[in-house]
Subunit: 337 residues, 2 copies
């Protein structure tokens, strides 16, 4: 055998391996996830429930997955994005309401003290919601949100909020979607707020967004029907409100549930009450360098010791952002490796 | 040319025509509809909105059609099916509540006076709902409904209620579905009630059923989570409540709406407020032989003169059950032609 022929063979072998490796990467549905137990559990669940003939196979109509939003799909620190929208709206309206300088809760907002804002009680929040989220049509409200999202940037990352989406979770959403799962967002945040960007940002249409909801009133404006947003709460989609709203909107028990805080506890329990195989996952914020580090002592996205204990006891997956995710945001592409 | 050859030619011609005719029937998506303006309007709308390149083309994500249920998809006379379920449930519970013989509204129910029952006020209805629809888990309630539907028959037709479905409307649902429309039921009836049979009867899954809803409470029974139905109304999905609930559940304006009574007026108006081409249809009950004849003077399914005027003014299609439908129920197959 000539040396030349051997070289040619080695070249083809090298070339073949390289192609195989690349294909492996391309075919990985979760490239932002490091290899490990969390990633393995996700792919195992999808294989078990969508491979025809598998003992845990779930028919298409029952493939329902629910995702919390704040802290699970996008950044919720230093304070919920929707709060920042409300704060900016109140600030915009302040020039027409000079008395706010001396009236709570507006004064605290105008001073921009986030720590005090986090401690607002229900009455304070009601006043803020009434000013920033009500007494306008649903359409007007969504235009306001849209226009704010187009100009607002996150105080630390200096990026639009709709870019502060966790790339690994987008991959999970797509992975589930591509395997016939209907994916819902089930958020304590306002449903009209999320619906303004959900389709563009997550690929999830408005009818698959469940969130806290205010009452609306059908009325006519210049002969044309419109829905007026009232300053009254219809339901709060948090804690026990999550399974209650899931039942209201979906009428089925989801088989997969993703969250990150005490507000998601009952939603995860509910999904585990199905007779089918099910999957529960909690994102743990433990990466202060690339994102934030917080759990039991945070007012925003509290992840208590009790939740941690329950998760361990019930076999829920706890994702370490630091160790399980090789990338957090899609814009990290542009950063040096 | 021999006679034999000519005969053969005629035979093939006849055979060809027969096949062509049969194919025409098979390919007709609305075989229970007589040819006429109503049928033409439906097929025209589907062609206009789903043919690529058409000026009125509607992208898949915005193809939303909403259907009222009682009187639009199934029989609502002599009284709503769900009322009959409640009446039978109260009768079943009467032996354990002997005092009901002398207490309203139970006495009227036990006497079975439908005319008086139709005049019940909101307080009466609340008591009946509390007894027949609450203080049990969602699962238990649906088992009760299922078991009742399996044995109950309609007083006039002597058929199970789930057979008293309008075949022409099932064809419309399938026709819209097959053209990429997501079909929702938007009913004044109870959403948990409809969800027990909607998938089997209409092919519409629970998450596409919007109806009046009671509050539920997440709790634990022997350590297992369950949702308890409370005797409190969350919202009534009728009249202005229909567009309000459509916004809550779907977050988009439907482009097609089907109803039969004053309770559907705002839903049809709302669908017509879209900037896209849209379609509105009202079923008019004018066939006392095959079904019922009622409109403005009926307490159940009132179709007022005002609604008739608005429909004419706004160009909504009014379907005459007598003239537009060659078949009302699928079991008419078995009747002599």
């Amino acid at each position: 055998m000539s040396t030349c022929y051997l070289k040619l063979q080695l070249f083809f072998l090298y070339f073949f391996c390289k192609i195989a490796f690349c294909f492996g990467q391309i075919n990985d549905p979760l490239p932002s996830w490091n290899e490990g137990l969390s990633k393995q559990a996700i792919t195992q669940f999808i294989n078990d429930t969508t491979t025809p003939g598998s003992k845990d196979y779930i028919p298409l109509k029952d493939r329902i997955a629910v995702f919390d939003q704040d802290g699970t799909l996008w950044v919720e620190q230093p304070i919920y994005t929707q709060f920042l929208f409300a704060i900016d709206t109140i600030k915009d309206l302040a020039s027409k309401n000079p008395e706010w300088k001396n009236t709570e809760p507006y004064r605290t907002i105008l001073e921009g003290d986030l720590e005090k804002i986090k401690n607002f009680n229900f009455q304070d929040l009601e006043k803020i919601i009434a000013m920033s989220h009500a007494n306008m049509s649903v359409e007007e409200f969504q235009e306001n949100v849209c226009s704010w999202l187009n100009k607002a940037v996150h105080p630390r990352f200096k990026k639009p909020f709709t870019q502060l989406i966790y790339q690994p979770m987008i991959e999970v959403i797509n992975y589930f979607n591509n395997h016939g799962y209907k994916v819902y967002i089930v958020s304590g945040g306002g449903q009209e707020f999320i619906r303004t960007y959900s389709e563009q940002v997550y690929g999830i249409p408005p009818e698959e967004i469940i969130g806290s909801a205010g009452k609306v009133k059908y009325e006519y404006k210049m002969g044309k029907p419109e829905l007026l947003k009232l300053p009254e709460v219809l339901f709060i989609d948090d804690k026990t409100g999550k399974p209650e709203a899931i039942n209201l909107f979906i009428g089925k028990v989801p088989v997969a549930a993703f969250g990150n805080s005490d507000g998601d506890q009952q939603m995860l329990e509910w999904s585990q009450s199905t007779k089918r195989k099910s999957f529960q996952l909690l994102v743990h914020h433990d990466d202060p360098i690339r994102e934030y580090k917080y759990d039991k002592d945070s007012k925003i996205g509290t992840f208590s010791q009790a939740l941690m204990n329950e998760a361990n006891q019930r076999g829920w997956i706890i994702v370490s952002m630091k160790n399980d995710w090789n990338k957090i945001f899609s814009f990290e592409n542009c950063l040096p490796q």
